[in-house]
Subunit: 327 residues, 2 copies
């Protein structure tokens, strides 16, 4: 830790540690660890756990920025980092945006930490190079998904809802949350077969899409207690989720135009949110996406047998599929 | 390049390439290359040039975020990335902030690219590990400097101007712009002597502080043509530069209070900026910091002889000191 002689730096690391350690699913490091050990790797437990923590650091980095972009107050049941910084430094500054400004740079500190952790890690050189490249790819595809999401949120006009919802989910979730953590675990086990990587892809991508659909449903019909964030945010932000895509596809003519006009309204109030939720339910979109969800879960479950992993890993992955299957 | 099948991704890389390729000083990769070759490294020219480009990618990453934070329209004589994105996507979105939101994620894409470049680079494993750790340290200290800068810009009250201005300059410029690029070049040459690293530090840190003072002077008395950004931005943003610190120290009693009140005003107009510039000049602060500047340049020049480098590198560094000596 550099600059530790400054009280400010100690304070800031306090905010970051508390934020990173909040209760979360930890699905990405779990997948990395289970996959690595499932393919015979992870003998040096300390080293692999430290490397797995990189995924949590990067995830917190993304969450902090996501919260700045979405202007969210809550994350994982606590204040977002930009709110913490605003509370701490807002009163001393004419800069009304100081919380966001500091939070943005604090997210970057986590990236700096990633470089330090990877640099210090004792995994073999060729594996480390491959791991670095995969981190880069995983981040890149996630960022493109994020930008696609930004462009299609709060849009004045809805264009190609089908393609966009699927592309965002594929990039922002299926690759980022399931495929890449598993691929990293596989590579860290010292393995590198193109055939096996294809099997991992066929197992992980449907599971990732199912995960996104589950998130989309919870984002509209879930409780704040369950998700740690307000249940109207997806609607307020006009996010192009599978649920919205399904609603648009299930409606016709006037009803469809009415829904799209309501959904693309500049400012939605509580009544609008309620009306949107009602139309989504009445449209049958919830059933459509639930069917899609269970289809994807089954697809993933069927490919689990293709993976050449040990029983521990198979058990973890089967358990995860089971969790994903519940809505 | 992932996601290249999307027109959006091609557009975005277009913005990034144009931005990264704009005319700039390129001082960080230059220092890395000169130092690496000066210590007998860089035999594989392609590899070392590619690694040096990492510093430009990271610098563009910082500039994009800096421009978001400072709400700047111009950078290196062109539109800032968030302005480009706002122009392109603003009209289709209810999100008034869409340019900033996209630009933020675009800055991150450059970090993803850094991971890919470092992962693919063929420098020896131990050197690469050391390089990674140093990138992490360099970023971290820069970020703390940046946060210190944010907290002390536009402040309602000025606290400890002397310590703050020096700390910001030390972290944000002296380490980031001069010391770390040279240290990276040294390490990339395969060298790792603690004594020599100390010599590099003693040469580079004063030069870096001089560089910051030069920037502080140009930021208030320079022309937009020269710096590529408006010459009133430092004053408008209430940045705690050496020039401001010097002014506060040179003034007494009522005059000092008057200047501090004016400088910490919530909204400064053109008349305020003019008045502030006049007080800075009248206070003799410009002379004070110019003296400080030439002292630092001389200190650095005197330590150049301690470095065990070849003549090419010594020539480059002497040239750089010469450029820094001119105000």
């Amino acid at each position: 830790m550099l600059g530790a002689e400054l009280q400010m730096v100690r304070d800031m690391y306090g905010y970051l540690s508390e934020f990173c350690a909040r209760e979360g699913k930890r699905i990405r490091p779990l997948l990395l660890l289970a996959t690595c050990m499932g393919y015979g790797g992870g003998k040096n437990r300390d080293d692999i756990v430290r490397i797995a923590s990189v995924l949590e650091l990067l995830h917190s980095f993304l969450l902090i920025q996501d919260d700045i972009i979405d202007r969210s107050d809550l994350r994982r049941g606590g204040k977002t980092i930009h709110m913490i910084c605003q509370d701490r430094y807002g009163s001393g500054s004419h800069n009304a945006n100081i919380g966001n400004d500091i939070a943005l740079i604090l997210s970057d500190v986590l990236v700096a930490n990633v470089h330090e952790v990877v640099g210090a890690s004792k995994i073999p050189p060729r594996t480390k190079d491959r791991f670095m490249s995969i981190i880069g790819q995983a981040l890149e595809i996630t960022f493109w998904g994020q930008i696609l999401d930004i462009i299609n949120s709060n849009a004045k006009k809805i264009v190609q809802p089908r393609e966009v919802a699927a592309q965002i989910a594929m990039m922002k979730t299926a690759h980022y949350t399931v495929y890449y953590p598993m691929l990293m675990g596989y590579i860290l086990a010292g393995r590198d077969s193109a055939v096996e990587i294809e099997h991992i892809k066929e197992f992980s991508l449907p599971l990732g899409l199912a995960f996104q659909i589950r998130d989309d449903i919870l984002g509209v019909f879930g409780s704040e207690k369950e998700t740690g964030k307000p249940s109207d945010s997806d609607i307020l932000e006009g996010k192009m989720t599978f649920l919205i895509k399904g609603t648009i596809e299930n409606l016709d003519g006037k009803e469809r135009r009415r829904f799209m006009a309501l959904f693309t309204k500049k400012r939605k109030d509580r009544r609008d949110v309620k009306a949107i939720r009602k139309i989504i339910s009445a449209s049958g979109s919830l059933e459509t996406v639930k069917e899609m969800h269970s289809g994807l879960v089954e697809q993933s479950r069927a490919r689990l047998a293709d993976l050449s992993i040990n029983n521990m890993c198979r058990g973890v992955l089967a358990g995860l599929v089971g969790i994903m299957a519940r809505l």
